[in-house]
Symmetry: C2
Subunit: 155 residues, 2 copies
C-alpha cells in the first residue's frame, strides 16, 4: 500500500514487508468532530491518516483540553502507544476534518513483529528515532525557558 | 555479563545474545569531575554505569548547565543517541563520583543489530518504551504547568 510507505514508522521496509503490513489494515471513514480514542483507554489500534485532519490533545482539566498536534499530512501516524506495553493511549484523538484513516490492530501488529524480527527492528528503530527527536524538541523548549529565566535574573 | 542484563535496554535478551553483546564492551575507570562526552559531539559510544555516579546535563548558556539526571544505579545507561542516526549526543555527561563504566562502540553495536535482528528488535523496543515514558513525564509536567495557569486565570 502506497500510503504505508510514506509513514515514518515504515520507512526502510521491503515491498513484501509492506504487503504483509497492508494485509492487516482496515480503512475507516472518519467524520468531523468524532473522537477516535481517549487518553487512558486501551491502545487497541495504531492509525495512519489517509485523508482529512486529526487533532491530538491531552486533558488538563474537566473542561480544558491542551492541543498537542494537528495532523494533516497523509501518512501521519498516531496511537503509537499501541506499539508497546502497557498499550494505553497517552493522548486523545479527534477528527478535525472529515476523511479516512487506516487502522492496524495492536494484536495483529504484535504478531507480525514477533514473526518478522527484521520488520520489528526497522519499525522500532524508526519509532525510537522519532521519539528521541520529540524529547530533544521538549528539552530545547526547557532550555529556552531556563535561558529566559537566567537572563531575567541577571538583567 | 551480569551488569548488561540489568540494563533496561537489554531486558529480554537470551544468554547467548548477552554474551555476544558483552564481547564488544570495554570497561573503563572514570574519575570524579571528568567529562565523558559533550552534547553536539559524535555519539561514538553507548555507556552502562558499573560503579560511581554520572550526571547528565544540557548547556543553557556559556556558564550555565541545566542538570537533567543523576545516574547512580549500576546498569543505568546513557549516551543512547549512539543507537540511531545521526549519532550525535544530545546531552553532556560528567562523572560525579569515581567508578567505572562499560562502553559499547556505536559501529560494533550497529553491526550486531544488523546481524541479529531479534536482538535489534528487543533493544529498540525497550528503548522506545523508555523514550515514550520520558515523553509522557514531560507531558505530565506541561499538564501541571497549564493546570496551574488555568486555575490562576480563573481564581
Amino acid at each position: 500500500m502506497q500510503l504505508l510507505s510514506t509513514c515514518y514508522l515504515f520507512l526502510g521496509l521491503s515491498e513484501s514487508q509492506l504487503d504483509r503490513l497492508a494485509a492487516i489494515t482496515t480503512e475507516t471513514r472518519i467524520q468531523k468532530g468524532k473522537w477516535l480514542f481517549f487518553e487512558g483507554e486501551e491502545a487497541e489500534e495504531l492509525y495512519v491518516l489517509k485523508e482529512g485532519a486529526v487533532e491530538l490533545m491531552t486533558k488538563v482539566d474537566d473542561d480544558f483540553e491542551l492541543p498537542i498536534a494537528m495532523l494533516r499530512d497523509p501518512g501521519s501516524c498516531f496511537g503509537t502507544s499501541a506499539l508497546v506495553a502497557p498499550h494505553v493511549y497517552s493522548l486523545s484523538a479527534r477528527c478535525a476534518d472529515g476523511g479516512s484513516v487506516v487502522a492496524i490492530r495492536q494484536g495483529d501488529l504484535h504478531k507480525l513483529i514477533q514473526e518478522d524480527r527484521d520488520l520489528g527492528c526497522t519499525v522500532m528503530t524508526n519509532w525510537a528515532e522519532h521519539l528521541l527527536n520529540r524529547l530533544k524538541d521538549n528539552r530545547q523548549q526547557l532550555r529556552i525557558h531556563f535561558k529566559t529565566l537566567f537572563q531575567t535574573m541577571h538583567s
